[in-house]
Symmetry: C2
Subunit: 252 residues, 2 copies
DNA sequence: CTGCTCACTTGACCTGGGTCAGGGCGCAAA
DNA sequence: TTTGCGCCCTGACCCAGGTCAAGTGAGCAG
């Protein structure tokens, strides 16, 4: 499952996963500032590239890592979508996040030294694997790498904090849609129309409410002409109204 | 407000803040693994000690930093208690955490490069200030420092994640009490009897419920002989029952 | 085609915890 | 002493969102 593979054009019809050109993809990755640096020590750059392993594809439902696995690496999503989730003693799940191409997973495992959650592909997915010990050594040599790691970690604290806020279902769902739109836009796709790669149940679980509530809130949004939903296709019609709803969650 | 001060015996009656002996205090600090290393490069150690500024006292209500301040340093609480809190556009507060001696605040500011929350002393408080640029340079030279920073950041993701869980008031409050007990115990105090340094309103806000709910749940716990509450004095009577309640939150 | 499954929707009803209102206690200032 | 104010507690009521039950509709195997 972990063998490096050549990464050419991806087969999926999903526009994100189609982002198959090596350089183009890398330009939207969280590691782009370190993987594609200008005017940086060529030797260090080569080391970084040697340290990256391309892994995949993972099919829907397959795990990139699982709760309790010994921590050894962090991963950048290269194509597809990864869901991270906790499963508690009572068997209840909590979705921690959906990770799009360019985003990094596994940072929450550094401290416990085991992965504290599962990371599951929810569509055909490719990732870049970064051995963490190797990355830490490189970080000591290349300030830019160290700085980027600090930033990524710090940003993840902020993301977790947003989820922890005390907000109504309308606020949470509006913020969720806008957040996805922003993240797609940051990767060069439309910020008004996109495809949900996850089920309603997963969205509900992520936002900490029942699946029925997702349906009901989406219906309300639709009735108020804020969005247009067709299955998993989303079109945001009234960005400013959505932003007004979400304003107390998303702080950027 | 930021001038370095000599740090002798603290005046407060709070047992935590009384932990005034320099070495003893430092041994319980999150930076202890790097501030008090054995067999590490003496020169680097001196650099770290030179980089630490002792700041305080802050009186109740005074800010160590405020939302929007330019990020320049992280802080370890030395004595007292610090509350971190967001204030959203609607003026509603969200308490992000209570920080006891030895704990580090400000890590969530690395990414945005401004502090994304207020850090307020809720009793007489002293802190250690670590210039972040200086710390990053040191981290590149001393692997132990870098590793400790990565760990602290990663641990903060985990803490924020716990808060984000979807749990009942009973579960959350039980987990809160046990968490405080653990943290006091880790610093050499009783894990069964301790003093709450924060108001019921702040606890409620931290746990994302109304102040009334704190009273009601504490009453239920008391009726069930799980705890004994006298004002802000807490005695945990039935740890295993509390752990059973909290088991789906605290994962350690 | 038929039947099955899985994702999603909708309506009816219920409940945990929020809101509101009132009251007690301890402490400090006058 | 009284008055005021923070902090905390409690009861009555209410509502956002959970739960339960009953759909629909798309995709797919036979």
């Amino acid at each position: 499952m972990n063998e490096p593979v050549f990464f050419g054009k991806l087969p999926s019809a999903n526009p994100i996963a189609d982002d198959g050109d090596d350089l183009h993809f890398c330009s939207t990755c969280a590691f782009a500032p370190v993987c594609l640096p200008e005017g940086v020590d060529k030797h260090a750059l080569r080391e970084l590239h040697m340290l990256v392993e391309h892994v995949g594809p993972f099919r829907t439902g397959e795990a990139i890592f699982r709760t309790g696995d010994r921590f050894a690496a962090i991963y950048a999503v290269r194509g597809g979508t990864v869901q991270t989730r906790l499963v508690d003693d009572a068997g209840r799940e909590q979705v921690l996040g959906f990770h799009l191409p360019g985003e990094v997973i596994g940072l929450n495992a550094i401290h416990p030294e085991i992965y504290p959650c599962d990371a599951i592909a929810i569509e055909s997915t490719y990732v870049c694997r970064f051995s963490f010990p190797a990355l830490a050594i490189l970080a000591a040599k290349v300030p830019r790498v160290q700085q980027q790691l600090f930033r990524l970690l710090s940003a993840d604290i902020g993301k977790a904090t947003q989820l922890a806020g005390d907000h109504s279902a309308d606020e949470r769902l509006a913020a969720f849609l806008l957040d996805l739109a922003d993240r797609y836009a940051a990767r060069g796709f439309s910020d008004r129309r996109f495809h949900l790669t996850m089920t309603r149940v997963d969205i509900a679980n992520y936002l900490r409410f029942a699946a029925e509530t997702v349906s009901r809130v989406l219906r309300r949004f639709q009735d108020r002409q804020l969005v247009l939903i067709t299955g998993r296709e989303v079109e945001l019609l009234d960005l400013s109204a959505l932003r007004r709803l979400a304003r107390n969650i998303s702080r950027r």
